[in-house]
Symmetry: C2
Subunit: 499 residues, 2 copies
C-alpha cells in the first residue's frame, strides 16, 4: 500500500502518477518504457502514466503522488491508502487496430472506444492513433455511430420547448463571429438558444474566446440552464459544461497534432448540440480557396453527411453554404472581434457591413425554424430586431447575467503592414491571415490579432496600411514580424504583397 | 529570462518543462491546452511540453524546471539563464498529413520526419500519428526511404573486415533465444558479429533481456567496438548504443500504442544493423497460426520487401522462413531462457533439442556467408564448434569481458498448470503463452515467465503439469492466475485445456 499525495502540476488532460525510484510497493527500477498503471482505492479505478522521481522531497518511497488531473479524479484526501497495478491495454484498442487495417467499425466498437476515452484509459497517443486511423476513412454510418457515442450520458432537456435552436459555423474564416449577434437576435425573438461555444482550436479566436472578452463564459450546467430559461439566450464555453466529455479530450489531441478531419468535426459538433438539447440546428459551411472547405463539391459531400446523421438522430438540420473567400469583419482575434460585434449590435455607422449582413441572413434562417413565421420573413424580422436595439438589450442582459468579463486589453505592440503598390485589393488569403494572427499570439492571448483596415475591393495607395498587427508580448510580436515579411496574405492588382 | 532548475523526474522519452502559474517571463494562465515550447540558452534548441505548477517549492515564478530528459539535452548547469518561446509545429508534420490522406511520401519527406523526431520536435502523439498513418500503407520505396532516414549519422565502420554478420528474428515466438548461441558459435569461428539486441517490446523477453541475465549489456559504442574486435562477438543493448536514435523513440511509442507494423519493423531492424556496420544479415521469419506472421504468403511478401531494401542499400541479406507454430525451448522469460541457452552451450543432456537444432541451422547459414566455406558445410562446422565446447569458451569470454550480471532470481511465486485430461499435446498457442507470460510479469521482470514442461507431441496424464508460472510479485501473480483459468493455451487431444 502507498500513501496518496497531491503534486499541483497541471498536465493538460493527461493523468500522471509519480513514484519514487525506490518505491516500497512496486519495483520501478526495471521499468524501461512508458507504463500505464491502475490506481485503486477510490470509488472508480483511475488510470495514469508513471513518472519516476529521484527526490524524496517530491515523493517518498512509500508514497504515490498524482498530478491535478489524476488527483481530482480519484477524489480522496492526501494520506489515503492506495494500491496500484499494471494496466492492461483497454480492449477497444483492438478496434482501433481494425480501423488502421481499413475495416468499418460497428456502433458497439465506437461506443467502447469513446467509453474508454471518457474513463481516461486511452493515453493521448492512443487517442491520436484513433483519430489518424479513422481520419483516413469513415463511412456515413460510422460517423453516425461516433456521434451517438460522443453524446454521452448527460443530455439537457428543455421542458415544454418544441424548438431549441443553435447555429454552428464549420470554421476556417477569420473574424467570422456572427454567433454572438445571432444569439442576441434569436433571444430577443424568443426562441431558446443554449449556445455552446468553443475556444480556439487552430484559429485566432473561437466564439467562446470572443464572448469571453465581454462576459464570463465559464458557467456550469445549472447556471447555463437557468440563464437560457430567463433570457432565452446564453453563451457558455463548452469546456465548462459537463457534456460530451470525450469530445474535449479528442479536441485537445486534435489541436496538438493539428489534425482536423471533417468527419470528426461533424460528429463532435452534432454530439455537443444533441447533448445541449438542441432540436433545430443551422450549420454554416463557408467555402473559399483558403477556407477549411475549398470547393462546393466538398461542401455538398459534408452537407449530405451532416443531413444523414441529423435525420438518423431526429435533429432538424439546415445546412447553408456561404462565401468563405475573405475574412468577415475587420477584427481577427478575440478583442478585435468583440469590438466588431458590439459595433453591429449598437448599429454604429462604421460597423462591418459583411458581418452585419451575414448575421442577419443566418439569424433569419434560424427564426424560420419557427412554423409561425412565413417563409422568407426571417431576414426582415431579424433586421427589425437588430435596428430597433432589442438585440443590444438582450446582449446587455446576457452580459449582466453571465457576469462582466475582466475586459482584456488590445495588444499594445503594434505594427502596420502597408501596401508596396498602388491598386485594388483583389484577394485576401484567409489561411495566411489566420496564421499571421496565431503567430502574433491570437488564440492564446485575447488581445492579440490583426485589424484589417482594407478588404477585398478597396483601393489602396503605396504606403497605405493594409492591416495592423497587435501582440501582447515581445516574443510573439518578434515572431509575427519576422514571418509577415515573406508574404502578407494580400494580393493587390495582381501582385502578391510581399512586404 | 528564467533561471534553470532540474527536477529529477523521468518521463520515458518525453521532454517536459515546468513553469510556475505566475511565471514572470511568460503568461501561462491563458494557456488552455497542451503546448510545446522552445527552450533557448544551450547549444541546441530543446523542445519540451509545458506543465504548469502551483507550488513555488517545486518551481519559482522566475524559474523554469526541466525533467531528466530535457535537462540532459540542454546540457547547462542549474541557474543558467534561459529564454523560451512558443514552438511552431515542425514543417514535416505536413508530410504526416499527406500520408494520412493516402499519399506516397518522398525520400526527402521521410528524412525530414525522422530528423524532427530525432531532435524531439515530435511529441509522442505526433509519432503515433506518423506510425498509424504510414502503418496502413507504405510502398517498398517508402520503406527504403524510411530505412535510410533511420540509419542516422553515427555508423560503425569495421576496418579491414569484408564480412560483418548479424542475425535477427522477426519475433512472435516465445523462448526463441537462438541469438546468444549463434553469437558464440560465429565468434568462435572468427567472423565478427556485433550483435545489437533489443529489450522486450511486446514479448516475454528480448535478446537483450535474456543476455542481461548473464552479462552486462548496457555498453557504450567505444566498449562495444573494442569487445567485438577482441572476441569477434559481443551483445549490446541497442538502447545503450548511440545509433539509430529515432528508432528508439519510435519503438517506445509502438510499445505504448501496441502497434507493430511489418514495414516499420523491417525498416527499423535494417537501419539498426546498417548503423552497426553489418554487411551480411540473416533474417529469420517464423510462421505459425499464432506467430506475428501467420502465412507463408505473408512471409514471402515480407521477404521480398526486405530483400529489395537490402539490395538498394548494398547489404547482403539471407531471409529464412522457419516454423513458428510452437515455442522454442522450455523457458519463456529472461531467466528461464538464459537457463535453456546455457544448457545448450554446455552440451547438457536435458538441453532443449529444438533450440539446439534451430541455433545450429541458423549459425550454419551465417557461417556460409564466408566464401571460404563450402556450401552445405555451415551446419556441420557450427555443430563441431558447439559440441567441442569452443562456443562455451567464447560465451564465457564474452560474459567476462562485458561484466557479469547481478544474476536476477527466478520468480519465487509459482503455480503449476496441469492437464485436465489424458492425451497428447496437439498444439500450443504461442500468442496465448506470450500473453500469460507478460501478465505474470515477464518483459518487465527478468525472473518472471513460464517454464514449459510439455511440448507438442508429448503425452500427458490428467493432473500432470503442462507448465509452471513464475512471478516476482503478488500483483502480477494474482493477475496471471486469474486470466489463465479461462484458457491455458494448450490443446490436448482435441480439447482446449481450460484449467
Amino acid at each position: 500500500m502507498l500513501s496518496l499525495k497531491h503534486i499541483p502540476i497541471s498536465s493538460f488532460n493527461e493523468n500522471l502518477a509519480y513514484l519514487h525510484k525506490d518505491c516500497t510497493a512496486y519495483r520501478v527500477d526495471e521499468i524501461k518504457s512508458l507504463t500505464k498503471i491502475e490506481i485503486h482505492g477510490g470509488v472508480k479505478t483511475v488510470y495514469a502514466f508513471l513518472q519516476i522521481v529521484d527526490d524524496a522531497k517530491l515523493v517518498k518511497p512509500n508514497e504515490i503522488a498524482l498530478n491535478n488531473e489524476a488527483f481530482n479524479q480519484i477524489n480522496l484526501p492526501e494520506g489515503a491508502n492506495i494500491s496500484i497495478s499494471l494496466s492492461t491495454p483497454p480492449p477497444s484498442l483492438a478496434s482501433v487496430k481494425r480501423k488502421i487495417a481499413g475495416n468499418i467499425l460497428s456502433s458497439g466498437e465506437y461506443s467502447s472506444i469513446i467509453n474508454d476515452i471518457t474513463s481516461r484509459r486511452y493515453s493521448n497517443m492512443d487517442i491520436a492513433s484513433f483519430l489518424v486511423a479513422s481520419g483516413s476513412f469513415m463511412s456515413a454510418p460510422e460517423v453516425l455511430s461516433l456521434t451517438e457515442a460522443l453524446v454521452g450520458d448527460n443530455v439537457f432537456h428543455w421542458d415544454n420547448e418544441a424548438i431549441v435552436v443553435d447555429h454552428h459555423c464549420l470554421g476556417g474564416v477569420p473574424g467570422n463571429k456572427t454567433d454572438i449577434i445571432i444569439s442576441a437576435i434569436v433571444g430577443a425573438y424568443g426562441l431558446p438558444m443554449p449556445k455552446t461555444a468553443s475556444h480556439s482550436l487552430t484559429s485566432c479566436a473561437g466564439v467562446a474566446d470572443t464572448f469571453a472578452v465581454l462576459a464570463n463564459v465559464e458557467i456550469d450546467d445549472k447556471t447555463f440552464k437557468k440563464l437560457v430559461q430567463e433570457n432565452r439566450a446564453a453563451i457558455a464555453s463548452y469546456d465548462s459544461l459537463n457534456i460530451a466529455q470525450a469530445s474535449k479530450q479528442i479536441s485537445a489531441v486534435e489541436r496538438q497534432i493539428g489534425l482536423t478531419q471533417q468527419e470528426h468535426i461533424a460528429a463532435s459538433i452534432l454530439a455537443i448540440k444533441l447533448a445541449a438539447g438542441v432540436t433545430h440546428l443551422l450549420i454554416d459551411i463557408p467555402v473559399g480557396p483558403k477556407a477549411r472547405i475549398k470547393s462546393t463539391t466538398e461542401a455538398m459531400r459534408l452537407r449530405k453527411l451532416i443531413e444523414y446523421v441529423g435525420d438518423m438522430l431526429s435533429m432538424e438540420i439546415d445546412v447553408v453554404i456561404t462565401d468563405g473567400s475573405e475574412p468577415i469583419g475587420n477584427g481577427v482575434g478575440a478583442v478585435l472581434e468583440a469590438r466588431d460585434v458590439m459595433k453591429v449590435l449598437r448599429n454604429k455607422d462604421d460597423a462591418p457591413q459583411d458581418l452585419l449582413e451575414k448575421s442577419l441572413f443566418l439569424a433569419g434562417r434560424l427564426l424560420e425554424f419557427d412554423p409561425k413565421l412565413r417563409g422568407g420573413q426571417g431576414y426582415h424580422v431579424a433586421k427589425e430586431i437588430l435596428t430597433s436595439g432589442r438585440a443590444l438589450d438582450v446582449i446587455n442582459k446576457m452580459i449582466h447575467a453571465q457576469g462582466k468579463a475582466p475586459q482584456p486589453q488590445l495588444g499594445h505592440l503594434t505594427r502596420d503592414i502597408v501596401s508596396n503598390v498602388n491598386g485594388v485589393v483583389e484577394a485576401i488569403d484567409t489561411a495566411r491571415i489566420n496564421k499571421i494572427g496565431v503567430w502574433a499570439g491570437a488564440g492564446q492571448y485575447a488581445g492579440a490579432g490583426l485589424d484589417l483596415l482594407k478588404k477585398v475591393g478597396d483601393k489602396v495607395e503605396q504606403g497605405e496600411t493594409l492591416y495592423r498587427i497587435h501582440s501582447c508580448n515581445s516574443t510573439d510580436f518578434a515572431y509575427a514580424n519576422s514571418v509577415v515579411e515573406g508574404y502578407t496574405g494580400y494580393e493587390i492588382s495582381g501582385h502578391n504583397s510581399n512586404y
